[in-house]
Symmetry: C2
Subunit: 440 residues, 2 copies
Amino acid sequence: MRIVIVGAGASGLTLASNLRKNDDESEIIIFTKYEEIAYSPCAIPLVLGGCIESFDEIIMHEADYYRDKNIQLHLSTNVTSVDSTNKSITFEKDGKNDTITYDKLVLATGSDLINPEFDIDNMDNIHPLTNIDDGRLIQESIKDKKDIVFISNLSIGIESAYELAKNGYNVTFLEQSPNILPLFLDNELSEKLVELNNNVTFETNANIKYITTKYSRKEIKYNDKIISADVIILPNIKVPSTSLAKMAGCEIGDFAVKINEYLETSVEDIYAIGDCVEVKSHITGTQTYSPAGTTAVRQAMILANNLTGNRITFEPVVNTVVSQVGNYYYASCGITESFADMIGMPVVSQIIETRQKARYYPDNTRLYIKMLCKYDGTIVGCQMLSKSDLSSRIDVLSFAITNNLKCRELVQKEFSYSPSVARIVNPLVQLALEISKKIE
Amino acid sequence: MRIVIVGAGASGLTLASNLRKNDDESEIIIFTKYEEIAYSPCAIPLVLGGCIESFDEIIMHEADYYRDKNIQLHLSTNVTSVDSTNKSITFEKDGKNDTITYDKLVLATGSDLINPEFDIDNMDNIHPLTNIDDGRLIQESIKDKKDIVFISNLSIGIESAYELAKNGYNVTFLEQSPNILPLFLDNELSEKLVELNNNVTFETNANIKYITTKYSRKEIKYNDKIISADVIILPNIKVPSTSLAKMAGCEIGDFAVKINEYLETSVEDIYAIGDCVEVKSHITGTQTYSPAGTTAVRQAMILANNLTGNRITFEPVVNTVVSQVGNYYYASCGITESFADMIGMPVVSQIIETRQKARYYPDNTRLYIKMLCKYDGTIVGCQMLSKSDLSSRIDVLSFAITNNLKCRELVQKEFSYSPSVARIVNPLVQLALEISKKIE
């Protein structure tokens, strides 16, 4: 069997490695238009901030790692067309075209950055921030500079902003939404995050008009203000790369390539995973576009099982995230209250400020949690903020939400306890009981 | 309505406070034979080690805190009998007896320490380690001393042993079982814990014969050896206090007071919670005795709901624990492999040694995880060891086990990721997939 994978991002490469673990014999062939593969985009802020020494360190594997596993890897190669009737693809490298057939085709084509809506007179010292090349260019660009402006960005941008501020840069973050990280945090916790971490200047509701160049500096006009900067980082708004899927005749949904729970497109023997597909939201039951590295990897691992005889479903998403910004972590799962308002879902919410450890324990970090539940008590969202690692804490909520747990049922669940790491009544339980009382 | 609670440990006091939150009107009356209440027994090792300054700091509330909430609190008062026909109890204080009636009676009578099986010539400088009084006596006893011996103890003992070693004491731990913490860890991880944390001397399979006194020192004969010590800490083996329950005619199971899922005993209007009851194991479906502070508090919170009109069930336990010993944490949930062997349950297990954070992240802590699954893939146990806080990490497994998740299904679950706190493929998923391959 020949399995052809288009795309060597998190989903394509994870699929190839996991397929090979389960299957010694199939031919596995990957095509990517890029020269550099297998790095961790989430680590770009850490290199910019100097916590990790160089971009080379975040490259997980060289191409030979895959080739040694008998995975064929075509770098700098564009797949130009798909013929699903004859089950073949055409690709181009160094100006030469070639065609090969496939038994199974996996589209892991990812996403493309879209251009910002405001005018920019020239792109010197203005960068997007999505891949390792952007990271390298930014690193070069900020040398001996002082003033950096970020425009509306998600985790990778906020993390980078704080990393640069930590290193003495004067960083301003212009957010076009009413609060930062609007996909993950409601205004209470995003404002708290900004307040606690005060070395980046934030401006929300920033309506960016244009960017112009004045000598070697940039000027950004927003609302009725003009600020200047040495280097500007653009928003990273992504759109799914669906052209090959369209060419193959795959059904495209409202947002991206449509797949079923087995990650199959509407065309036989063609699968799609990663940033090019749309997924179902566990909370709303509707389709959504939610590109995330964790989703891409999960889809790849599930598809590797499905293609080798262990059918597992890919389940609707709840968007479980964690991120370190400055000295704090935030985490989120499910929907925010502002999203609930937007779609007209009535919810009851509550915030608590508590501590991570037993009350009497020294060196105790603050913990802010917001939870929201539907009127029937079903938990639909949770946001957290703390100086302590929140990754597993939000994973617990992710399990609770995917299990459709009602807030009152959290009290039935076992949580571990020791005074140096936890509280005898887990704050999630305390919060859930407060919400259940509000609901009554 | 008059609710009478016998016992003011974690279960009795939590029940009273939570009842009062839901119910302004009922009379709530607590009886306890002790003078001191509302402290955190789990914090005793931290006071012994000096991390918390004094035993006074781990007292969460004074009696007045409860009295201010209109909870009647009778300290130093023995409840001597229960008459379930007339719905009354008799109690004794300062030699005087009195009787009151109840509408609802809650037995939160806790457990008693049993005497060790070996001979002890006199009890000077020999202490049990269960309550705050023991803690104070030990603190006094170890002053200007050097050699401390612990005998077979669970978390509170192991934690204290390391806390004292940290402060320069010469600490030996004699474990009667083949490995330390046998209820929570199999030998691989308990040996690893001992190896990594090397400032306490452990002797396993120690068959203690007797303790004698020589001048001001103690001599302990075990196996064919004799060691001497200044102070000895005894095992804390507990038996449920069931005498009042028996008097009331409540059914007693193989281990302790029998309750149903609503925490009702077999006698109408009598409930029982905390260390005096037996519970059902989620894994085996059979009754077991598993006294734990977290269980006591959970039962109390659930009963507070049930007595005020929101019936919630108390679910079978999976024994989710976390503990800090020296510089490491261990955590455990479900059953151990040695327990599975003992009850004849066939399981497949696997251990991984991994890192908490992304591979390239500096200051990355080791993480050891063992998981065990039944032949159908159902996860039945998990043990972890790390320098980083494991409390929420084990809570995730607790949710997985109570949901009867199969190892392969873990790959369907969302886990959060950021390189500074997690790995893109959660180690639990990696481990689960390895086990599912072993099962095939």
